[in-house]
Symmetry: C2
Subunit: 217 residues, 2 copies
C-alpha cells in the first residue's frame, strides 16, 4: 500500500489533522484545496500562522492577547475606565465586543477556578486584578496612553462575565468575596446565557440581554 | 467595537476562514489553538503549506500528484503494469490504495465529463490516457524507472473507477466507447458504492467489494 504519492501532501495532511475539530478526511480535503490555491494565498496563510506565534503577546494590564503592549483597549482614550469586565479567556473579550453593548475595560483571568484540575486563584490573573484596584497609581505612567486620565478615573464597577457553569460560578463567587472590601459595585451578567454553554459561542442578542440584566452580588 | 485586540490573530482567523468547511467560529477556535501550540509545531504547519505548493506537481505519466516525476507508483517495479485504473481525482487514488486491493497503475483524468460545466474530454487527460495505450514505446526511456519493463508489459485491462453519479457514468460510457477499438478489456468497478456519494469518502470494505465485482463493459 502506498500511503500517499506525495510526501509533501502527506505531511500537510498530518499537520492539519493535528488541529482541533479537523479529522483526517477534512485534513485531506483541506490539503487538496491548498494545492489549488494561488501561491500568494498559501504564503499569506503560512505568514499569518508564524505572525500569530511571533507577534502576539499578553497585555501587561488586562492580559488580553495583543500585538502591542498595552493593548488597544487599555490604551484607548474612548473607553470607560470606571468599569472592568472580568472574563476567563481572550475570546470572551471578542464575543463581548461584538455586542457593541460594553465600552469599559477588561481583565482576562486566563481560565476559571477548578480545584479538580488544580486551578486555583494563584493559577489565574486574580492578584493582577486586585492590584488594578488598589494600585492604579502604581501603574508606570509610560505604560498607559493617558496616564492622567487613568489615574483620575477610579474603577466603580466590576462586571463578572464568567462562563455559566460550575467553574464560572465558583470563580464569580470567589471574586465577589475577594472584592467585597473594596466598596466597588460587583455585578454578574444575567443568566440569559444557556447554562452549560460556552460564552465565546453565544449570539450577540443573548449576550446583550445578559449585559442589560446584570445583577448586583 | 474593537474587531480584535490583535491584528495578527485577526489576520490568521481571516486566512483560516477562507478554507473550505471552516466557518468564522471554527477559524477563531483554530487561531486560539495556534497561539497555544509550540512554535516548532506552527513552523512545521507553515512549512508544510508552502512545501505542498512548491514541491507538488503532476506526474507526467498518470497525472497523479507527486513530489518526483514520474510518481512513485509509475516508477515502481512492484506494480502490475498490465492494468490502468482510471479515476477522476488524485484523492481517489489514495482511497483505492487504502483498500490494499489493487496493485496496478493509475490514470487521473482531473475530473469527469460535464457538458453543463463546459467540461468535455479535451479538458480532461483523455488524450494522454489513449497515448499511454497506443504509444507505450513513445514514452522517453529516461522518464520511467524500468523502461524495459514498461515497454514489454502491454496494458490488458482498463478499470474505470469514476464517481457513481451522472458525470461519472457519462465519462465511463465515453471512455468505454473510445477504448473499444484497442481490444483491451475495459471494466467498471461494481456499484457497491452508494449512488450520489463521493468515491473519495467510501469506506475500504465497500471499495474493496466494488473492485472484486467489476464487470466487463
Amino acid at each position: 500500500m502506498m500511503r500517499h504519492t506525495s510526501r509533501s501532501v502527506e505531511a500537510l495532511v498530518e499537520q492539519f489533522a493535528k488541529l482541533p475539530t479537523i479529522g483526517r478526511k477534512t485534513a485531506q480535503r483541506l490539503a487538496s484545496y491548498v494545492l489549488k490555491m494561488p501561491r500568494e494565498e498559501v504564503a499569506l496563510l503560512a505568514k499569518a500562522l508564524l505572525d500569530a506565534k511571533d507577534k502576539v503577546r499578553e497585555c501587561s494590564i488586562c492580559f488580553n492577547i495583543t500585538d502591542a503592549d498595552p493593548c488597544p483597549i487599555c490604551s484607548s482614550t474612548r473607553r470607560d475606565r470606571s468599569m472592568i469586565c472580568v472574563v476567563e479567556e481572550s475570546n470572551d473579550v471578542l464575543a463581548i465586543e461584538r455586542t457593541n453593548e460594553y465600552n469599559g475595560l477588561y481583565h482576562v483571568l486566563g481560565g476559571a477556578i477548578s480545584p479538580l484540575d488544580g486551578i486555583g486563584p494563584d493559577e489565574l490573573k486574580v492578584r493582577e486584578l486586585v492590584s488594578r484596584l488598589v494600585g492604579q497609581s502604581d501603574t508606570p505612567a509610560d505604560r498607559v496612553a493617558e496616564p492622567s486620565q487613568s489615574q483620575q478615573t477610579a474603577v466603580t464597577e466590576i462586571i463578572l462575565a464568567m462562563n455559566p457553569n460550575v467553574e464560572g460560578d465558583t470563580t464569580s463567587y470567589y471574586l465577589s468575596q475577594l472584592l467585597a472590601p473594596f466598596n466597588i459595585r460587583v455585578t454578574r451578567i444575567a443568566r440569559g446565557l444557556p447554562i452549560g454553554g460556552d460564552l465565546e459561542y453565544a449570539d450577540e442578542a443573548t449576550l446583550s440581554r445578559a449585559f442589560e440584566g446584570r445583577l448586583s452580588l
